[in-house]
């Protein structure tokens, strides 16, 4: 590392043993986790579309998986991950404009994203079951 300097006063990354727990820690790692989960969900979605193109027999097999308890649980979690990634993604876009970066504001918006991720799948389930 020719020429690189490493003064002791460099900012320390938010390491778990160094910083006390705070909500923006959770909001950060959840964005990455939900992004990775959606990566998997998108692969599944591509296979679902290809199964629809392949015909009724292939599609029925996929349908069996989706209707099983683990398929339903996966869909529920995918909606939660989508809701979180959406809310926190918008939060990121707001941050990019320079707004909302005060610790108090960032905490509030982080809580909002987490609560939205909990409420959205319940709300959607209620809408599908009781509404419309």
């Amino acid at each position: 590392m020719a020429g690189a300097t490493r003064p002791g006063s460099r900012p320390v990354s938010p390491h778990l043993t160094i910083w006390r727990w705070h909500i923006t820690m959770l909001s950060s790692i959840l964005h990455r986790l939900s992004g990775i989960a959606l990566y998997g969900a998108a692969i599944g979605f591509a296979f679902w579309l290809m199964a629809a193109a392949a015909g009724p027999e292939t599609f029925a097999k996929v349908q069996t998986v989706l209707n099983a308890w683990y398929g339903q649980a996966a869909l529920y979690l995918i909606v939660a991950a989508s809701a979180y990634h959406l809310a926190n993604g918008i939060r990121h876009l707001v941050f990019d404009t320079g707004a909302g970066l005060e610790p108090a504001d960032a905490d509030t918006s982080a809580w909002f994203a987490v609560l939205f991720a909990i409420a959205a799948p319940i709300g959607l389930w209620a809408l599908v079951t009781f509404g419309a």
Binding site: A2, A4, Y39, A42, F45, M50, S82, I90, H92, L93
Partner: protein, 131 residues
């Protein structure tokens, strides 16, 4: 920099291998641009699919042969797969240090979303225009 006057390295030698240049800004902008599009497409799809996608093969075909749905799903797949490939590239670069593993995962992350994205778009076309 604090290098002594008689250091053997040229100025270029000092700055090389300190990381990639030039491409970061494009990556950043592409992530943000795809995010804005997905912020509309993803909730649209989830709510529409949950409310109007009926179970079974015919329900899925009905859904996908509605032109608005077909166009929306193709956009969601194309932009979503691009976005997730950009995002995963960042994750791989953050965590994977071994050069071979890193290269393999980056290659996989470039190919898999592209192949599945093309397959998924083609599937929507087959459903709409038959074989």
């Amino acid at each position: 920099m604090s290098a002594p006057k008689n250091a053997m390295r040229t100025p270029l030698g000092k700055v090389r291998h300190h990381g990639a240049g030039k491409e970061g800004t494009g990556h950043f902008i592409a992530t943000r641009a795809t995010s804005v599009a997905l912020a509309l497409l993803l909730p649209w799809f989830i709510v529409t699919a949950a409310l109007s996608l009926r179970t079974g093969y015919l329900g899925a075909i009905d859904f996908l042969t509605t032109p608005v749905n077909a166009v929306g799903v193709i956009l969601l797949v194309a932009i979503g797969f691009y976005h997730m490939s950009l995002g995963m590239q960042e994750v791989v670069l953050d965590y994977i240090e071994r050069p071979l593993s890193k290269a393999l995962l980056l290659l996989l992350n470039a190919f898999v979303p592209l192949a599945l994205g093309v397959g998924a778009v083609f599937a929507v076309l087959i459903v709409n225009f038959g074989v």
